[in-house]
Symmetry: C2
Subunit: 446 residues, 2 copies
């Protein structure tokens, strides 16, 4: 903190050399944090003092979803912005370009070296959320019939531009991915060995059109630092590194969590009015869904006026069934994210039915006894208990069925949010409750 203030003072003091030497001491992530804390005039001063390459270096560490990035680029001189993007890792630069409008992209690309602009253009056209959209083209490729010594020489030449030099990819004459060797293999083996003699030919790779979440799963399973990306003819197009995968895992977790809560939790630091605007559509939608529950109760109003004790247990039954539904929803969403090959969708539903019946019966018996003793009426207790048991079973089934159903329709199962399930289960719970109560009403109203 004091260090950052010190740096700001150096920047304001207009002593470029002193600022530069202190700033460049920092790790690029710290430089990015410092930069994000500057105001506009401080940023303009910084662009004057640093080279485009130095700025590009820490722009690699700014989250590409940061909504200020287009402003940052707009306030730089166009040649400076283009040069800075050129200096960045190509996948990160493309992630930034994707947030800009077409004319701006074209203007920036026009000022870059031809080869870089071509690379970026080719990456720009991959669909969002595919392997192609997160890969980089800055990998190191060698030929199978090279010696390790010459491969090492090629590696040294390209090491500065590559995002990761831990794996070296071996291509055949037609640029197909033929093998992989790690830098470890390169340095421990005799330098006169041929690459083809020690390369691993069973390369685990992903397709350029694969969903980015399945890529993340593969890297996580195999504990890779990077994975090659190929087209359907096995041409090597790029690589995906583990740091980009961590961001995807984070986003995936955040979106599952958001789904369960009915709110986008990734917008945490914005102003409270905007936060309200984000939450209201969902709340009001659920309010209208809840109105159907209210009108159902309204339908049974004569029953309530006959036995006002029924009103006492409405929120208990809807609440408990809602809790049970949320539990089974969460388990179902998780199961879809980490599929269990041994169980089919129907088997999962059956298992959840058993779980629902057991939890329903135990909870139902408990509340029967509690209400029986409290209200001195075991018939009333039985009505409440039976209703709760049925409501829990239905909510459990809905919670476990809906995400799988969404997934089959091609939607993200996490959009079957917790609040939605609870509100839906309110409706069925009330219907079950009053149907049962109506049947038994003569027995417990004196």
């Amino acid at each position: 903190m004091t260090q950052l203030r010190h740096l700001k003072r150096l920047l304001a003091a207009g002593d470029p050399a002193a600022f530069r030497s202190a700033f460049l001491e920092l790790h690029s992530w710290e430089q990015a944090q410092f930069f994000l804390n500057l105001n506009r005039s401080e940023r303009l001063a910084l662009y004057d003092v640093l080279s485009a390459s130095a700025v590009g270096n820490f722009f690699d560490d700014i989250d590409d979803d940061d909504q200020q990035i287009p402003n940052f680029l707009a306030e730089m001189r166009p040649e400076f912005a283009a040069q800075m993007l050129t200096e960045m890792y190509v996948d990160n630069a493309v992630d930034i370009l994707e947030h800009l409008d077409k004319p701006t992209i074209n203007r920036l690309l026009a000022q870059m070296p031809h080869q870089v602009a071509m690379d970026m253009r080719s990456l720009l056209h991959y669909d969002d959320e595919t392997a192609g959209a997160i890969m980089t083209t800055e990998f190191i490729a060698i030929a199978a019939n090279q010696t390790l010594a010459s491969a090492m020489y090629a590696l040294r030449e390209k090491a500065d531009d590559a995002e990761l030099i831990y794996y070296v990819y071996v291509l055949d004459n037609a640029k197909h991915l033929a093998g992989i060797i790690s830098l470890r293999d390169l340095i421990v083996n005799d330098q006169e060995t041929l690459v083809q003699d020690i390369m691993n030919e069973r390369v685990i790779s992903v397709q350029v059109t694969d969903d980015h979440e399945s890529v993340a799963q593969t890297i996580r399973d195999y504990n890779f630092f990077a994975i090659p990306v190929t087209d359907d003819e096995n041409h090597l197009l790029g690589i995906i590194t583990v740091d980009d995968i961590i961001d995807i895992i984070d986003d995936e977790a955040a979106s599952d969590y958001s789904g369960l809560a009915g709110v986008d939790v990734e917008d945490t630091s914005e102003n409270p009015l905007k936060a309200a605007a984000k939450r209201l559509p969902w709340l009001v939608t659920l309010l209208f869904l809840g109105m159907s529950t209210a009108s159902l109760i309204n339908h049974y109003e004569s029953l309530v006026s006959e036995a006002s004790v029924l009103a006492v247990f409405i929120s208990l039954i809807t609440g408990t069934a809602g809790n049970a539904g949320t539990q089974s929803l969460a388990v179902a969403v998780r199961r879809l994210a980490f599929p269990d090959q041994e169980r089919s969708f129907v088997q999962s539903l059956l298992a959840e039915l058993v779980t629902g019946v057991v939890t329903g019966v135990v909870t139902g018996v408990t509340i029967t006894l509690v209400v029986g003793f409290w209200k001195h009426s075991f018939i009333l207790g039985f009505v409440i208990g039976l209703a709760m048991c049925c409501a829990i079973i239905v909510a459990n089934l809905a919670g476990s069925f809906i995400p799988g159903f969404m997934a089959r329709l091609g939607f993200d199962p996490a959009v079957a949010s917790g609040p939605f399930i609870s509100t839906l289960s309110d409706l069925t719970s009330v219907l079950i409750y009053f149907s049962i109560a109506q049947y038994f009403i003569a027995s417990f109203v004196n």
Copy 2:
């Protein structure tokens, strides 16, 4: 799949050479998947056919939380098990040992080479969930006054044992961590250069007692493949690699998600009765908490019998307030996981108050109009709307206050689960609703 069946057949056929050559072709993660699909007698056949080193190689890829691991070790000959653990990466072997009982651990350690047993003992005594518990001691360290050529020589010697050779750590005479150089720096620079001339002296490291989640955050921020772990005198004790961090991020996300749902979502593939047993304690606890809401409504029963229309809106008000509370809970838990330095706890609460007031007023006005037109009574609508507005504000504040409060008490904020907040908010919502209704009752009952 056919490949796995083919392998099983080779194993059953008792042709060790054919099985071995096919099996060793697989990536270690695939080997682990194959192994986990075997029954006991197949596993025993496998231990006979493979070397302890080959088995250790894929045991590195089995999740250490897998509850079958102690059985696997018990069915191996003790010397085989000890040798297998010796061949594993030391951090993974220790993760396995941590799940065994003391006598078994000692018996296994006694059969290992002295140095390995010492390393494992030293790692075993670190507290769970600290950097010490997840680090490995298999890193590569060199001296500052070596040339790059001699460093490279040392690297070649140790490369086979090290978990990661991408970073090489530089120690001073007293074994303090003095710098770091990447393998990239090692190979691109002139081999006669001294290590101290190109090493990076500003090493980002973590303390051995640091919480593992904060280590994960640091690695994620800086995009590292590994981070060094030191004691409070800056002696290098080990390194933590990014693959272990991914597991922590996953576990963290799963536990936040579980908290919000009130169920441990990591137990998905077990049998439905066990699943019910896991969910029931939480459901029944909430049931009793819900009973306090029921007895509160019971307290107002005369009010309900006077105006049974009040019963119609109970679940609408409790449900909507519960949804709002879950939203603000989720945002608060997420904010605690990714702290925003610019905002204090009090500022966050104030912001959430503003959000609560805005969402409350909008939702309240909406329902006032809906009920007013539906029931031809804008006074009744106003009662419902005012109650909903207040209930939302209270639920919002509770949802955002409780996780922070839990964190300050030293608990995991995610234990403030969604169902708990909803059930609690049922209670306050009902209290608010009937208090307001009681005040206005004369105006809307004819």
